[in-house]
């Protein structure tokens, strides 16, 4: 067990964004956070990285309270991939090297350069290393910010809709990469996703959020029902099977 969340509340003004959220995430697994727009997925991820402060509740990382970590300490344990990557006049290698910021003191050592090089190899993107971010496609940019989070060598990786701006091929590539990294590097991956079919193809466990509450925490993908999807998303659907995986098809 790596991440334990208990009774998390988050209020924005008088509006309740997260309402008693309790769950946990394990090393080697991909936990998918699912739900409609405004369900609180982004806020939940931001709370898990200390970017938003919950009004109540406990977040434990390997048994230690999140609030007890200082900035660089937390950055060595938790990596966060935001929804929209920013471009700048940097080459990919420099952008990924920023992920080593919590590890090096005044400036990066040779060891940091080696580790960044290893990240590029792991993601099979060595050919992008010296390319400026401004000359990159959305898919390449998404890989760069994922690489940056991996360069932090976190034990928990958070991703906010990592595939929202990607074409089908890039979506599949990024998601299968996440699964491979979770398994191969013994990392806990928590990602929010809109595409249910891909979530069920690449995820291990699933958390359905609606209006800040957990509607269902699912361990077994075969238990996905049309009623659940309809309840969470407010849209009538059919659920069929294809190759052992559930496929959600909107009705109408």
């Amino acid at each position: 067990m790596i991440l334990d969340v208990e009774g998390l509340f988050f209020r924005y003004g008088s509006e309740s964004v997260l309402d008693e959220v309790t769950f946990s995430a394990r090393r080697g697994e991909v936990l998918m956070i699912l739900g409609p727009n405004g369900a609180g997925k982004s806020t939940l991820l931001r709370c898990l990285d200390g970017l938003a402060r919950p009004s109540r509740g406990v977040i434990l990382l390997d048994g230690k309270a999140l609030a007890a970590f200082d900035g660089p300490d937390l950055a060595r344990s938790v990596g966060y991939v935001p929804q929209r990557p920013e471009t700048a006049g940097l080459i990919a290698f420099d952008a990924v090297l920023l992920g080593r910021r919590p590890h090096f003191g005044r400036h990066p050592a040779e060891e940091d350069l080696r580790r960044v090089d290893a990240v590029f190899r792991t993601l099979a993107m060595e050919h992008l290393a010296l390319r400026p971010l401004e000359a990159m496609s959305g898919g390449e940019l998404q890989k760069v910010i994922l690489a940056r989070a991996l360069a932090q060598e976190p034990s928990l990786l958070l991703l906010d809709e990592p595939t929202s701006s990607l074409d089908l091929k890039n979506q599949v590539e990024i998601l299968s990469l996440l699964r491979r990294i979770a398994r191969g590097h013994d990392m806990a991956v928590v990602a929010s996703l809109h595409d249910l079919n891909q979530a069920f193809r690449f995820g291990d466990r699933f958390l359905f959020l609606k209006e800040g509450r957990i509607v269902e925490a699912m361990e077994d993908r075969s238990r996905l029902s049309a009623e659940l999807v309809e309840e969470v998303y407010g849209l009538p659907v059919d659920v069929t099977r294809h190759g052992g995986l559930p496929v959600v098809i909107p009705r109408g």
């Binding site: 290893a118 190899r121 792991t122 060598e153």
Partner: protein
């Protein structure tokens, strides 16, 4: 993660070396410009004599005096003010994530000029103000008023929906406000005060003598050291505020500190040589074309470009209309304003 199997990336090391070379080129160009500015003027000095004088090996006393007592202080003032203003511009651009930011376009320079003018108006002149107060008192009040402008800019930039152009419009409003306030003071000032106040409204490097130069040198050196020390934190800001925070950087602290230091160096430069426009916006962008946004290379690049260009502008201001000698701010405005408009157009095209 297991990341032990990486190699030292040769391509990247070569890339770093190539970037470092730009600084060497800019530094050599700045040195040549310094030599040229020592030679040029009403009385031309042969380059070899100028070099000898610069190194303290001058033979001819007449040339030695022209170079070391007249031209060298002004050239050093140009190098220092250019470095300070360009660094302040580069760093405000990064901290506000706004390519149009600079002390001048944000009204911070005008606010500092108002503070300097106010120090003349409100503080007593008891038979020749002591040098100590003339330098530090004026600079301190200029800093205080420039911080007011910076606080307004920072407050507006915290709103997520404010576009880069909006921030600059706010800067224009602040600039006009502080210019009007300076004019109000000038309206009520007596002749002696007025003559002193006018000095700050258009920058002139000719007034800086050795005590001023020493003060400016210390301020610019400390600023450079501070910004260079923060280069990796400034780099993480390039990745966006959220990412910077998730990388363990205390974004608010870095922002406030960097803006404070940018205001400090601007206020000191303005209080010593007056408002010099466009150096802080145009020079960092020229440097960015060669160095990119990485502060390891951008900061030295912007510093050298600022030093080089302000020195060239000042040399032009001294020599173009001989025997007339112009204040340098007029030249930077004539070249800087079109460059700034070009920059706006290029940004709009993207």
């Amino acid at each position: 993660m297991h990341l032990e199997e990486g190699h030292l990336p040769e391509g990247y090391i070569r890339h770093l070396d190539a970037k470092r070379r730009w600084s060497a080129v800019a530094a050599s160009a700045a040195f040549l410009a310094l030599l040229a500015s020592l030679c040029l003027g009403a009385v031309p000095v042969p380059p070899l004599e100028a070099l000898r004088s610069l190194l303290g090996l001058g033979i001819d006393a007449r040339w030695d005096r022209i170079v070391r007592q007249i031209r060298l202080p002004q050239a050093l003032a140009a190098l220092l003010a250019g470095t300070g203003l360009s660094l302040a511009g580069a760093v405000t651009q990064s901290t506000l994530r706004n390519p149009l930011a600079s002390p001048f376009t944000l009204g911070i320079s005008h606010a500092a000029a108002f503070g300097a003018a106010a120090s003349v108006f409100f503080l007593p002149r008891s038979g020749g103000t002591p040098l100590f107060f003339r330098l530090y008192g004026t600079a301190a009040i200029a800093l205080a008023t420039s911080l007011v402008a910076a606080a307004a800019i920072l407050a507006l930039s915290r709103r997520r929906d404010s576009p880069p152009e909006g921030i600059v419009l706010c800067g224009i409003a602040l600039g006009s406000l502080f210019t009007a306030a300076t004019m109000l003071l000038q309206y009520f000032a007596d002749d002696v005060q007025l003559a002193t106040m006018v000095f700050w409204t258009f920058g002139d490097l000719a007034r800086a003598r050795w005590p001023e130069l020493l003060f400016m040198a210390v301020a610019v050196a400390l600023t450079t050291v501070y910004f260079l020390g923060r280069r990796w934190d400034l780099n993480t800001l390039l990745a966006g505020e959220e990412t910077a925070r998730s990388l363990g950087v205390s974004v608010t602290r870095v922002r406030l500190e960097a803006m404070f230091v940018a205001c400090l160096v601007t206020a000191i430069v303005v209080s010593l040589v007056g408002v010099i426009g466009f150096v802080g916006i145009v020079c960092p962008h020229m440097a960015r074309r060669f160095t990119g946004d990485d502060h390891r290379f951008l900061l030295p690049g912007a510093a050298l470009t600022g030093a080089l260009l302000l020195l060239l502008a000042d040399t032009a201001a001294r020599t173009l209309l001989l025997p007339r000698v112009l204040p340098v701010a007029i030249v930077t405005a004539f070249f800087g304003a079109p460059a700034f408009i070009w920059l706006l157009g290029r940004k709009a095209c993207r």
